[in-house]
Amino acid sequence: MNFTFQGKRISGVLTVVPANEKQFIEEMKNFDFPEARSLKLKEVMGYDKRRMVAGDVCVSDLAVFGMQNLFERKLLAPEDIDALLLTTQTPDYLMPPTSNIIQGRLGLKRDMLCLDINQACAGFVLGLIQAFMLLEQPSVRKVVLINADVLSRKASPRDRNIYPLIGDAAAITIVERDEDDSPIHASVKMDGSQHAALIIPAGGMRLPSSAETAKLENVGDRNLRSKDHLFMDGSAIFNFVQTEVPPLIEELLAAAGKSADSIDYFLCHQPNRFMLQKLADKMKIPHRKMPHNVVESFGNTSGSTIPMALALNFNGDLLKHQRQVCLAGFGAGLSWAAMLLRLGNLSFCEMIDYP
């Protein structure tokens, strides 16, 4: 499904990462796996460092901390926010919506819209599409999109397939109207028939959490995991990404009448270095145009890896210049989405630590 928008822009990005840093090399002993093979995996997949919340820190804690930082520095006025969108797979509660909790903790006005979007690694592009659609309404002038997850709390420390990858973060993106009416093109695809490839099996109504679902099971390859934990069929997800993402981007470029060469940066969701390098090779995109350093230094933080890449790599550049970028996210659902837009002249583009 294709979308086009005009007269909208991203005006600022603030990402929040927990100060608590873990080194893969120190965590290797958690896995029943030879050290030499772990080191080889570190090199190929780009496992190095990641940030994890400590204790019971929730999505709303990271989000409120980031929003208060923006208020204190007068980079965002609370009364200007007409909608707060939260894209997360790890809400504070099953109900109420965590976006309402954030609104309440921040004391925001009541005459606004709060909405949780249950999407994961495609969540930045999907959230932007939702924000742009809201901005079509005369009453909506500024939307705050928050992509936040604390998925490390749902990863088994004894599961080598998942645990070394996962990081926690929140990204706050300010979206508003713009006089520049450069077109924004987006495309979205969904395939719910493959929903079990990336899933937390227990904890919802289908399989409520219980003592039984909390039991660690040997799931092969010397990994231990319970049904309360995050599961990923790594091979299926890898093949899904390699098969589906290149044509999605190619079709979007064709619809927008642009060539791959005309794109300054391809900012893809960052699951691991190997997957991104193979994606870049398949699309014949120079590796320097597709950064993969978020996952190496912060872990796979789900829907926030794209804004994290902006803050990590282009914070100075995007304050002064405009770039033509292609964003692409893909993951649980399965969902995959891409967007072409001009990005730049931002008011802020930063990363801060949550203590």
């Binding site: 995996l41 190929v44 890898f238």
Partner: protein, 76 residues
Amino acid sequence: MKTVAEILQEIRPEFDFSASNDFMADGMLDSFDMVTLVSSLDKNYGISIQGTDIVPENFQNLETITGLLRKCGVQA
């Protein structure tokens, strides 16, 4: 330049790969070993094996791996 057999031996030195016709089924390679193997083959032969070709069927035994390399223009 190393041979495919030498690369496999480096990744899992404890196994005799010439004795198996199905590395995955015989528990000699798992999905992460497959990723490590692709990375080593890419570097060794100066190629980039396509992501869509990284499926267990292509890494079943020495014959299927050399078949994949031939597809990438390498005579291994």
